[in-house]
Symmetry: C2
Subunit: 338 residues, 2 copies
Amino acid sequence: MSRATLKDVAEKAGVSTATVSYVLNGTKKTISEETKHKVMEAVRKLDYVTDMNAKSLVVKDSKLIGVVIPQTEGKTHRLFSNNFYSEILSAIEYEARESGYQIIISGMDTDENFVRIAHQRNLDGVIAIGVCSDELLSQFEKIDIPVVLVDSYCKSAKFVNIRIDDALGSYMATKYMIQHGHKDIAFMCGTLKDNGVMQKRLQGYRNALKESAIPFKKAYLCEGKVDFQSGMELAQDIVKNNMPVTAIVTTADILAIGAIKGIKSEGRTVPEDYSIIGFDDISICDYVSPGLTTVKQQISEKGIGAMHMLSNVMKGVKDQDDLVLPVHIVERDSVRSI
Amino acid sequence: MSRATLKDVAEKAGVSTATVSYVLNGTKKTISEETKHKVMEAVRKLDYVTDMNAKSLVVKDSKLIGVVIPQTEGKTHRLFSNNFYSEILSAIEYEARESGYQIIISGMDTDENFVRIAHQRNLDGVIAIGVCSDELLSQFEKIDIPVVLVDSYCKSAKFVNIRIDDALGSYMATKYMIQHGHKDIAFMCGTLKDNGVMQKRLQGYRNALKESAIPFKKAYLCEGKVDFQSGMELAQDIVKNNMPVTAIVTTADILAIGAIKGIKSEGRTVPEDYSIIGFDDISICDYVSPGLTTVKQQISEKGIGAMHMLSNVMKGVKDQDDLVLPVHIVERDSVRSI
């Protein structure tokens, strides 16, 4: 289909292209109602569509949101090897669509220059999910567009944060195990980074142990990547090394689901031999056997909230408070009393 | 960071903005080497980044690929309620990134106007995944940009297709059940549409039955949506209605995984009471118990292939053959011999 241009509209309306532009962008108040009417008639007849790329040059409004998912584990095909990301992205995409925005996905490699991408695309705003490197945060500081950070403990006044209380979540999970009679509780997590989500969750685990006067044992700290494979291998090690634990607190459902598989592959069972608790409450928790008891965070609400907060920043709302969403335990069948 | 403009570069280089533009776009051959050098020096010093939105107006190259996932089941938050979509999208995103493209996601509602979106964004190309409505296909025909259809049986010369042989896949699944002694085999699928993937798979099921002289029974056809909930409910109905089947052939792993849950919730077991086979081989097949025997399609290869084919069309390669990827059975523990 040959596409109508601004010039076509101008010709059909019998006015200059500048006049069409004034009418469409509302940038001049002295256009007569009759002229406006003629222009809009021509727009309708020609099915004229504003080129957003051109429009964005004038009105600084691309209606495009960048969603950044830092590939902290290195280059990989699998943007969504943890279902948490696909679930939150679903919610952001839906919410953006409802508000007239589209999303562009950047599975940022650690060495990429985001300033370049943001400027090239003239993004209206950015939502960054997960742990951002200091380098990426400093790039965000350089660009003067609204940024919402999801699951970050960054304290810069430049950014708005939406997250949960990660320490509280793991505290609750560990406490839950203790209440079920467990004392030898392993902690299975992704790469620990200063001020990152994993570090906060480790703190929650340690707080719960301390409260019950259970000494923290470094040997019970199982650090890997946040994916199924890693959970499986870490759990196999626990069994093979005869680590005397009866319970495993994990920092992600996908780790816990891998751990269940790893334990089964070593001829042991959940929850008979090991009690396991997840974190997130992704849909798969319900699919597996035994159903995974977990710390539920409201993943969709987090995505929707991030988009709402970004909308507010884009509208010029200042001083939004960080949003901390609640967590709670969802009981299924992967934890037993001893 | 205040961003350098074309004007800044021109001032720094001591030339006109038109000259800077000529140099950057290579649109005029009569610029002296000295001037070129001065301009490029200024570009480097100012860290000038071309605005892709502006550039796309001139060179018709936005480096932006639209990925369309028609929301055939109606408006929903859950773009990825079937993990097949997140897995193929991961592959497309990675492949696009490697080729210097970014992807923009459109979870198209049935009533949306894609012509408008494609023009607004000046997309370089489109990958559409899953069954497209005739309306959407006719919109694709109207836009003069490259389109690759994934999992479509559309015969228009305008589009390139990448898919599997869906009838063959379900034929193999059904044959596999028959070889394991099953004769009363239910078929569980999503909404059947003329010339759609579900219809083709039904045909494969019927072909396998016919070959073994097993009559097709309409009562064994369980039609729902392609999601976990629907699989669970359809399986619960099979148990509750005492449908005398011993095996269930499904058209999606997510349906099969829901079916396993539904059967368990009715106090029956897989594969003892019912043998089940999936379709796709999404990662979750490995997570559930019993592990799901399934018809594997190479989901990542499909995504990568779609992006490769799109690159070819964008480069002007004509008459690409449709690509039909192979399928095979992956044996796990959800089917038993009777």
